[in-house]
Each structure stands twice: as structure tokens, then as C-alpha cells.
Symmetry: C2
Subunit: 245 residues, 2 copies
């Protein structure tokens, strides 16, 4: 099987990657070590692993997570095509979180010091990396708000909306016929700080109310408005929270 060059990278058409010159692509190309193909439910980075390289997720789904010593697991965020992996760990330091695939997936593997190389040789790519990192943080921020302050129903509504949006953005039809949804209920539970059983019950309740449907590994949105209302999701013109002065 052939190696994909950055020039023909499937991610290029995405808005985020449009702006770079051919030279910059060559630069990225030069840091790329190889491609890595993994199956579903394989571990890409172990928690506490040192010297993990830098990755980019080319296709498939994965997630970052942390666990406590008795096995309780928290999924920090889900990774879709185009996401960066491994910027968090200071070089030479232990990874503070693990990464596991959800589906079969392809990763681009970069040298550990590609991060510095890119910054040095192309400030605009460096800037982009900062931005991507900051953006990922804002996803975690959103989840933290959910887990800390939303009820189970609200959390699930939120998760469905956000994952749907992200997945839909990667397909041509914009999600009109649903999007792939490879999470088990255990993953949802671990992503939202809920128990498996309660996740199931809540999910069924929303589904019975006709808000969404999950079947055969696909997610269909039935009533996005109702879900958004449930999640207290502003945006799309709704007013931001009123300052409580």
C-alpha cells in the first residue's frame, strides 16, 4: 500500500488546511516518518508512556483518556480526522493521557521534534498549531462545563450535537443521512462522567422522545432544535448567557 504524501493528503480540502503553500507542505512532508494503520480498540499511546511521537489522525475515530488506579476512566475528548495528537506532552516527558482508536484508523507519524521544526521553519504553520491546540482546549472546556454543571439528559444532548456537527463536517452531504457513530454506550458514559446504566436509560429516553436515533453504528438527528434547547446550547443567534450582575 502506498504512502500518502502531504500534497495528496485527504485532509487538504478541509478549511483549516487550505491556506498553506506547496513549500510548507513539503516541510510537513519532511517531518513525516510514516503512516500507521490501526484497528478498532487498539492503544496508540499508553497513559504514562514516554517519548511518544506526534501524530495526525488521517481517518477514523479515536479518543484521549485518563484513568484512576482503580480503573475509573474519563474520556477527555474524541478525535476525528484532522486532529493533532500528542502536543500536550512536554518532550521527553510522560504522556499525561492515553489514546485509543474507536474504529480502524490511519495516523501520520511525525518525529518528536517536528513540533519545533515546524515552528522554526514556518511560523504560519506554528501559529496554526497553537491555534489547533487552543481549539482542542476549548472542546475540553465545553465538556468540563457539561460534566460539571449539566444533568445527564443535558450532557447527552450536548454530546450528540457536538459529535454530529464534527462528523457531519467531514462528509459531503453534511449529515443529511446521518453520520458514522462508532461509540459504544460505555464510551459515552466515560466521556460524560456517567454510569453505563444511567447513560443507557437517558439515551433511550431521548430516543423515545424522537430527538435522535442511533442504529447500525450511525447517528441520525431527528430534532436538533429540541436537543439544542435541552443542552442549553447557545449559538446560532441565541443570546449568550446574561451576566449575573
Amino acid at each position: 500500500m502506498s504512502v500518502i504524501t502531504c500534497r495528496e493528503c485527504p485532509l487538504r480540502p478541509l478549511p483549516l488546511f487550505l491556506t498553506h503553500s506547496t513549500e510548507e507542505l513539503e516541510l510537513v512532508q519532511s517531518s513525516k516518518q510514516r503512516e500507521l494503520r490501526m484497528q478498532a480498540e487498539e492503544i496508540l499511546i499508553h497513559e504514562g508512556q514516554t517519548d511518544a511521537p506526534l501524530y495526525t489522525l488521517l481517518s477514523g475515530w479515536a479518543f484521549r483518556f485518563k484513568t484512576l488506579s482503580d480503573g475509573r476512566r474519563q474520556i477527555l475528548n474524541f478525535l476525528l480526522a484532522g486532529d493533532f495528537i500528542g502536543v500536550q506532552q512536554k518532550m521527553g516527558d510522560a504522556a499525561a493521557h492515553g489514546v485509543t482508536t474507536l474504529t480502524d484508523a490511519v495516523f501520520c507519524v511525525f518525529k518528536r521534534d517536528a513540533l519545533w521544526d515546524l515552528h522554526r521553519k514556518s511560523p504560519s504553520m506554528g501559529f496554526n498549531i497553537t491555534w489547533l491546540t487552543a481549539h482542542e482546549e476549548s472542546l475540553v472546556d465545553d465538556t468540563l462545563l457539561s460534566v460539571g454543571r449539566r444533568s445527564a439528559e443535558e450532557r447527552i444532548a450536548m454530546l450528540l450535537i457536538l459529535l454530529f456537527k464534527r462528523a457531519a463536517a467531514l462528509q459531503a452531504d453534511g449529515g443529511a443521512n446521518g453520520v458514522p457513530f462508532p461509540l459504544t454506550q460505555q464510551h459515552i458514559a466515560d466521556g460524560l462522567g456517567l454510569s453505563l446504566v444511567h447513560t443507557n436509560k437517558t439515551l433511550r429516553k431521548l430516543e423515545r422522545r424522537g430527538l435522535h436515533r442511533i442504529s447500525d453504528g450511525r447517528l441520525y438527528m431527528r430534532d436538533v432544535k429540541a436537543l439544542a434547547r435541552l443542552a442549553d446550547l447557545y449559538g446560532d443567534g441565541r443570546p449568550p448567557p446574561r451576566p449575573l450582575v
Copy 2:
């Protein structure tokens, strides 16, 4: 009152800021617009505010937060001297979170496009910014693990340890005589996804057990080991979580 130049910035002695040349400092200096002094409990950035500039926290404490429309608030993380503020918001975009001071505080205000300027003119500073951003994300990751999977006791133990470490690192005595602790119990509750009442009860329980003491706005650690055990905090030689399988 005189304006502090970057050359004489109180943050320079911190490990993170040691490595930069005089020229780089001048560069930062050139992006600095002014200093901003605020009192305790003032809002630096409103949730949803557009075009907020970039800040650095020179002294004092602050926090980032998000709220739901009915007023439920989640504190995303606490900010101490040396922290960056505002990298998250895409330029020209609305701030996804608010920032409020906890104590009197001094901020350095930078031009909105200082971020790009720094990347362009000094890759090594750019790299540092990426790293700082990634590091802040890892703080949020930690909190998410707590809020999603730890019990109230465990969460509070964790918060006390982490805040103590950060605050202690900023003082000469390393926290031997306690550290300033300007949070009210409401702040702790909002940072950990707990109710005020339960936070109070849990805090008192730990205090009565002799694990810590908070008085007169200072935090004293009485039994860090016990707190660390409670929080299931590894590090300092304890083994990382065993891979399950």
C-alpha cells in the same frame, strides 16, 4: 505609577521564562500595549465578548469560567502569575469563556495580533506559546478527570494539592508557611462541579481529619501524603495506572 518593561518583568526569574534573549524580550515589549490593574472580583473578559485582547497575568489570581443561561457556572481553571489569557479565542471571534479576578491583579495587555507577531518574529517564543497552551489544556484535562470520575472528597483533595503546588512554586519558601488562598467555597464548588453546601461539608471533614487547614485566606497543608492518597494522585514515584488488560 511606572510601567513595567519586559526586561524587568517579575516573571522573568520563573523557569519558563529564563531562556529568552534580550532581543526577544524587546519583541515582546513591542507588542505590549499597557498594564491593567484590577480589583478583586472584577470581570476581565465577558463571556461572549468579541475582540478581547491578549493578556498575561503579572500578579494576583483569576479564573476562566463558562455559565449556562440559568446561571450555573463552571470554573474551567484558575490563573496564577505567569499564565496566558485569551489564546483560545480565534481572532475576531467571541470569547468562549469569561475571565474574572479573584484578587487584586495586574495584567499585561497585548495587541490582539501579538500572537501572530510573536510566532513570525520569534519561532522560539511561538513554540513556547504552543507549549503553554498545551500545558493549560492538560490542567483542564486533570480537572475533567476529577469532575467526571472522582468523588467529592477526592476532588477536593486533588484541588488542594494542585493549587498548593502552583502557588508554592511562586514563593521563595516553597509553601512552608502556607500559600495565599483567595478562593471562597463557592469558587471551589464551581471549579469542581459540586454544590456549595456539599463542598463546605467535605472541606470541613478533611480539615477535621487534619489533612489541611484554611484560615485567613491562606492554605496550609497538614498531610500531603494522605491528600495525595485520597486524590489517587500518582507521580512522585508511585506507579501509573495499570493498563486494564
